[in-house]
């Protein structure tokens, strides 16, 4: 860690960004024809692929059917080549199961499940290259995929990971920053109403700093939502040109 300054005196981070600057976000919807909805999203060097199947009839245990709303089933997995050291098990380990549960919780808050009783919506997210902010990239990619599938949502779900270094909040952490002993907070937000779908933090942070950190996270998420909105509108424009409207 010696010599690696997460925030230099001039206010620049390891990759040259400013404290509140997000990484470059590029996304594309409708990458797969077989699935109902799909999206590919790149945030800096982190690449994620999200695929949505549904709403369809409950598969597997019929007993888990809910009579008044749809069940959301998420699976998070990482490709074996996504990290610097080869990952042996793509899914099924504890971290992936935990992430899947978090994604499920996030999307249950946003997707209008009461429109599809007794059915199931599957959301599968795969990380192709991991460079920090895995959860946030997954949520953003999955939002686009759900929109591509035509499933109604209350609002976009945008997520961002923020950290706290030297009294300054850093938005959109990369891998080196995440592992550099920074207290990080992951936040999933529904931008229009300003409602938080998921908040997760597991590090020590002084109570006074919490408010600034959440504020910074919310601003970052609103920035992400603008980009996602652009992507959706452009995709819609391309699709309507193809169908000749």
């Amino acid at each position: 860690m010696a010599g690696l300054e997460l925030l230099s005196d001039q206010g620049y981070r390891l990759d040259g960004r400013k404290a509140t600057e997000l990484r470059k976000l590029q996304a594309r919807m409708g990458v797969f024809t077989q699935a109902d909805g799909s999206a590919y999203l790149e945030q800096g060097n982190t690449k994620a692929l999200a695929v949505v199947y549904g709403p369809h009839e409950m598969r597997g245990s019929r007993s888990r059917t809910l009579h008044d709303r749809a069940v959301i089933n998420c699976q998070y997995s990482m490709a074996t080549f996504s990290t610097a050291e080869r990952k042996r098990r793509p899914h099924g380990d504890r971290k992936s199961t935990e992430m899947s549960l978090h994604l499920k919780q996030t999307f249950e808050a946003a997707v209008m499940t009461q429109l599809y009783p007794r059915s199931q919506i599957d959301i599968y997210v795969k990380i192709l290259q991991s460079d920090g902010g895995n959860y946030s990239v997954c949520v953003n990619a999955a939002t686009l995929a759900v929109i591509d599938a035509g499933i109604p949502m209350r609002d976009y779900v945008c997520a961002c990971t923020v950290g706290f270094v030297d009294e300054t909040p850093l938005a959109d952490l990369c891998y080196a920053e995440e592992n550099g002993g920074v207290s990080s907070l992951a936040l999933a937000l529904l931008p229009r109403g300003g409602q938080i779908a998921l908040l997760q933090m597991d590090a020590r942070l002084h109570q006074d700093h919490l408010e600034t950190l959440i504020e910074a996270a919310m601003t970052a998420c609103k920035g992400v939502s603008k980009v996602l909105d652009e992507v959706v509108r452009q995709h819609l424009q391309e699709a309507s040109v193809l169908t000749g409207e």
Partner: protein, 226 residues
């Protein structure tokens, strides 16, 4: 870098892993895709992991102690039939693209060997993929056979034959899959057709790979965003 297999101490080896992701079909969620994945990896071991396809001796660093282990990971994103062919073409291209850093062995004080990898990203060893075979799958539909079958065509077929062909037209491995039975004449016919198709597949593939290689830095990485 790993320890070489005890049976062949002077060679490296390849490890295959095929991950059928849930993106392909919802049935592959959780443990569902493992069966197909193991079936595919076992066939790939048979086809690719022998000294005639790849020069495994070049993967040896220190006989009996250290060797290069190449982990070949295949990620299936969408399935529309003819998995073996697509996977073999992808593996051949990936092996062509592999850059293995050159290793210097020096002995330190206690007599143990120290391995140093050269830091220069251009000082690397490339693999010779001339002899790497490509797999051609032929499906028997009615009285005729079809190459490169889609999922619907596969559903109509009785059985299929998987042949791995090198660029010279030599068959290295052959396997029959499927529930139906094939009579010997059709197997001969299918092998001849497979040899022809396989031979014709290698030349354009190598040309394309070399073309992309020669673009060097100007190469545009398209990926999903293109």
């Amino acid at each position: 870098i790993g320890k070489p297999r005890p049976a062949v101490p002077a060679e490296g080896y390849l490890e295959f892993f095929v991950d059928c992701s849930a993106n392909a079909t919802p049935e592959f969620e959780g443990r569902g895709g493992e069966e197909l994945g193991t079936k595919l990896s076992n066939t790939l071991y048979k086809v690719f992991n022998n000294k005639r396809s790849i020069d495994l001796k070049s993967l040896c660093i220190c006989a009996g102690e250290h060797c290069w282990v190449l982990y070949v990971d295949v990620l299936l994103l969408q399935c529309d039939g003819n998995l073996y062919d697509a996977i073999s073409v992808a593996i051949k291209a990936a092996l062509f693209n592999t850059k293995i850093p050159k290793v210097h062995i020096s002995s330190d004080e206690e007599g143990g060997k120290e391995i140093e990898l050269s830091d220069d990203p251009y000082d690397c060893m490339r693999l010779n993929v001339e002899n790497v075979p490509c797999i051609v799958t032929l499906c028997k539909v009615g009285h005729r056979h079809v190459v490169d079958a889609t999922l619907q065509e596969k559903a109509c077929s009785v059985a299929s034959l998987i042949i791995s062909v090198t660029h010279k037209g030599t068959i290295t491995c052959m396997r029959k899959v499927g529930g139906g039975s094939l009579d010997p004449e059709s197997i001969f016919e299918m092998t001849e057709a497979g040899k022809r198709v396989g031979k014709a597949l290698h030349a354009p593939l190598m040309k394309l790979l070399e073309q992309e290689e020669s673009l060097g830095k100007k190469r545009q990485k398209v990926g999903f965003l293109g």
